[in-house]
């Protein structure tokens, strides 16, 4: 069934925009034939094609691939020559140069092979990247200058001293220098020197060898500076290229000589230059550093593992020491603070816990607000109410009296009236008494008000209690087993013997043992209130003792370890 069928059934004429439907069908004609449920779904779509085509993944990919933007102009790329430095010409591909330019370039490259270097260099425009090719400018000096400024600082170097025969590489470097055109003067000097060297005898005694390693000739220095210039102070390359002529020179030797000479040179030029200190080079430190590094890198895997383990161990020790210290402090603090005499057992239930929590919270806040006074503020309204109650009682009594008196003697009524007047006076006076205290209440915070309410409630409760128990004396009360507690209790019934405090298993064992030593049972015979109070206190003290012992042992062990 297709959508057209539905249209037929519903008697709807086929939608007008025929061309609109044609176009998408035209565009979607190349899509692969759909089968199964998909085809049925397509059929249901009819003319109301959704904006997003339902199609398989592979189809989607081909559909949404971006079409090639062919209308852009083709950009030519040319293999253009460029001059990275003065004595070489290289080619690289450049984008977007014009046909002419490229032609010119190709021509020039054609020519290049035929023409000599100088000509090419002139023809070529300077490379764009030339500005980034920066070399450090190193001082240049003649032998006389060198001797001059070096003599200022150190002993005059023995230039005349014989050196090893210059070998081929020095000559090649000289050639290079000549070619580069930079430091021509130095190059010339070196040439002259190398000529001089050539005349010297190459044989040197081993005795002198060590001394020679420390002393630098002008030529050697010059060679070093050339290498520095040539390789942009890349010391490893310099060290590699440096021809030490039989002298063993380390990388540090080279560096130190370079900085020494540079410093001497600039010192001569301007002794007050603030940058002079930056030319200090501590050879021994550098060697030390390298040795350290070498040792660090030369460690075996086992050594590394051991080291890490040791570090972890030391950390553990530190943490443990800190914790024990804290614990000890806490314990000592605890021991100095007064003990609570009450049983913990009533806080063991969840209800008890929440009660304790709230009470602690309120305690805290109270402390913060009244650091000095712990007492609950008296509620003036309560006072007043009590006063009123008393007065009411008095009134009632008097009424009673009045009635009796009325029966007896009507004459005395006057007196009674006087009495009631007195009471009225009292009434009128008493509110005045309480007035000054009222403003203070209005200032009190919400928290305090709550406390007041609680206190009021408590008082009303205790008042009721008193009323209930008023007929019993103290002795009678103990005989009745009635006790009025200060705090709210967990309502319910229990056996007193079940409220013997208990501890954590490890501690409980210690306490049990201690009790055995003391010759007391864990459960007293007479589990009366008084006995239980003492028992609880004893157990608490025993627990304290056990705790203290533990810490003392720890301390002892620590001292032992430190010894």
């Amino acid at each position: 069934m297709s959508s057209s069928d539905i249209f037929d059934v519903l008697n709807i004429k086929k939608a007008k925009p025929q061309p609109a439907t044609v176009e998408p069908s035209h565009s979607s004609s190349p899509r692969p034939p759909v089968t199964g449920i998909q085809r049925e779904l397509y059929n249901l779509l009819g003319t109301n094609q959704p904006p997003i085509a339902l199609s398989s993944k592979s189809n989607e990919q081909s559909r949404f691939k971006e079409k090639l933007q062919a209308n852009g102009k083709v950009v030519p790329w040319t293999n253009a020559p460029f001059k990275p430095n003065d004595y070489v010409v290289l080619n690289h591909w450049i984008r977007g140069s014009s046909l002419n330019a490229s032609n010119d370039n190709t021509k020039s490259t054609d020519k290049l092979e035929k023409l000599d270097h100088n000509k090419t260099e002139q023809e070529l425009p300077p490379s764009k990247f030339k500005q980034f090719n920066v070399h450090p400018t190193l001082p240049e000096f003649t032998e006389i200058e060198y001797n001059d400024f070096m003599s200022d600082i150190i002993l005059p170097s023995e230039i005349s001293k014989a050196d090893n025969k210059p070998n081929d590489e020095i000559i090649t470097t000289n050639k290079d220098i000549k070619e580069s055109g930079s430091g021509l003067e130095a190059g010339d000097n070196q040439k002259a020197e190398s000529a001089n060297e050539g005349s010297k005898t190459p044989n040197d005694s081993d005795k002198d060898h060590k001394a020679k390693n420390d002393t630098w000739t002008y030529e050697e220095t010059l060679q070093l500076f050339h290498l520095c210039r040539q390789y942009d102070m890349k010391w490893f390359i310099i060290f590699d290229r440096y021809e030490d002529n039989g002298k063993t020179r380390t990388l540090e030797d080279l560096k130190s000589q370079f900085y020494k000479v540079s410093k001497a040179y600039f010192h001569k030029k301007d002794p007050k230059n603030p940058l002079l200190t930056s030319l200090d080079f501590r050879k021994d430190k550098e060697i030390e550093r390298k040795n350290y590094l070498q040792r660090l890198l030369a460690r075996s895997a086992a050594e590394i593992a051991e080291e890490e383990a040791l570090i972890i161990e030391s950390r553990k020790f530190e943490v443990a020491a800190k914790r024990t210290l804290n614990e000890r402090e806490a314990l000592l603090r605890l021991l100095d603070s007064p003990h609570s005499e009450q049983s913990v057992s009533r806080y063991l239930t969840s209800q008890g816990m929440s009660q304790l929590y709230t009470s602690l919270l309120s305690d805290k806040s109270r402390k913060r607000k009244h650091p000095s006074s712990n007492s609950i503020p008296e509620n003036p309204w309560m006072k007043q109410q009590q006063q009123f109650a008393q007065q009411r009682q008095q009134l009632q009594q008097q009424h009673h009296q009045q009635q009796q008196q009325q029966l007896q003697q009507r004459i005395q009524q006057q007196e009674n009236e006087q009495k009631s007047q007195n009471i009225k006076q009292e009434l009128s006076v008493k509110p005045n008494d309480s007035i000054p205290s009222i403003p203070s209440t209005s200032k009190k915070t919400k928290k305090q008000k709550q406390e007041e309410q609680q206190a009021q409630k408590k008082k009303s409760e205790s008042a009721r209690l008193e009323q209930l128990l008023s007929k019993f004396s103290e002795e009678e009360r103990t005989a009745l087993g009635v006790i009025v507690h200060e705090k709210k209790l967990n309502a319910g019934v229990y056996l007193r013997s079940t409220r013997i405090p208990s501890f954590k298993p490890a501690l409980q064992n210690k306490v049990n043992l201690m009790m055995q030593e003391l010759g007391l049972p864990m459960r007293p015979t007479m589990v009366t209130k008084r006995v239980m109070e003492r028992q609880e206190h004893l157990l608490k003290q025993i627990a304290n003792l056990a705790d203290l012992k533990k810490h003392y042992d720890k301390l002892e062990a620590e001292v032992e370890v430190r010894k």
């Binding site: 021991l335 005989a479 009635v482 007391l520 015979t525 008084r530 206190h537």
Partner: protein
């Protein structure tokens, strides 16, 4: 809001001492008619007030659960005296549930009593338990120093007539009872302890008359003595620790 008489009275607690325990005797020549042949002892479990005081004014019933091997192991004792006599051959834990009168609105109290049938060999032999050993010291300290290990939570002893007893003193505490129940409780001086112990003998133990103020203060003295020793030790240790810390 609940009616006022059902409101719990805050911060008030009422205690009621009572004793529970059992006596046991070997079955002699007179064997109860329905006792199985393997039963060797006849025992009696009881829950009662001190000095046979009435406790039924606040206790509705006592439900006792015996060992499963007994026929109808759950026995309900609806009326005083709350006691049950049975025969048996072995000791076991008896589960006791005390239900209070309806107006109390309290849950039942649940605890166990170890039925004791066999006496300890000799009172001085610290044979079975810690309690036994401490029981001995107890009597030595108390005025009624006898060789019998009495006055302890597990009063068990062998007498000439072979009666073994295990009587335990405990107190039921009603925290914040409601007003009606309080009035019920206050109707009798249930917490009254006799000032002096009566002579320790089987009858008095079973009656609970040995539990007295005198015994109480003896026990308090004993505990106080131990508290002193422990506190002394604590102070010594404290000093030691302080020294150590200072020397470090």
């Amino acid at each position: 809001m609940a009616p006022p008489h059902n409101k719990r009275i805050k911060t008030l607690s009422v205690s009621r001492p009572f004793i529970y325990g059992n006596t046991a005797k070997k079955i002699g020549s007179i064997r109860p008619p329905n006792a199985p042949p393997e039963h060797t002892h006849i025992w009696k479990l009881f829950i009662k007030g001190l000095n046979n005081d009435d406790i039924s004014y606040f206790i509705k019933k006592v439900v006792v659960k015996l060992h499963d091997t007994y026929p109808n192991p759950i026995r309900t004792l609806e009326t005083p005296p709350f006691e049950i006599t049975e025969t048996g051959w072995g000791e076991f834990e008896i589960n006791i549930k005390i239900y209070f009168i309806d107006s109390s609105n309290e849950k039942f109290l649940n605890f166990y009593h170890h039925l004791r049938l066999h006496p300890y060999k000799t009172p001085n032999q610290i044979a079975s338990t810690e309690e036994a050993s401490t029981a001995t010291t107890t009597t030595e300290n108390s005025n009624n120093a006898t060789t019998k290990d009495e006055g302890k939570n597990d009063n068990s002893k062998k007498q000439d007539d072979d009666i073994v007893s295990s009587v335990i003193y405990d107190e039921i505490i009603f925290n914040e009872p409601n007003e009606t129940f309080l009035n019920v409780l206050l109707s009798k001086p249930g917490n009254y302890l006799p000032s002096n112990s009566e002579e320790i003998n089987e009858k008095n133990i079973v009656n609970g008359t040995i539990f007295s103020k005198q015994l109480e203060s003896d026990e308090i003295d004993r505990i106080n003595l131990r508290i002193d020793t422990v506190e002394k030790e604590i102070n010594e240790l404290k000093e030691k620790i302080k020294e150590r810390l200072a020397s470090k």
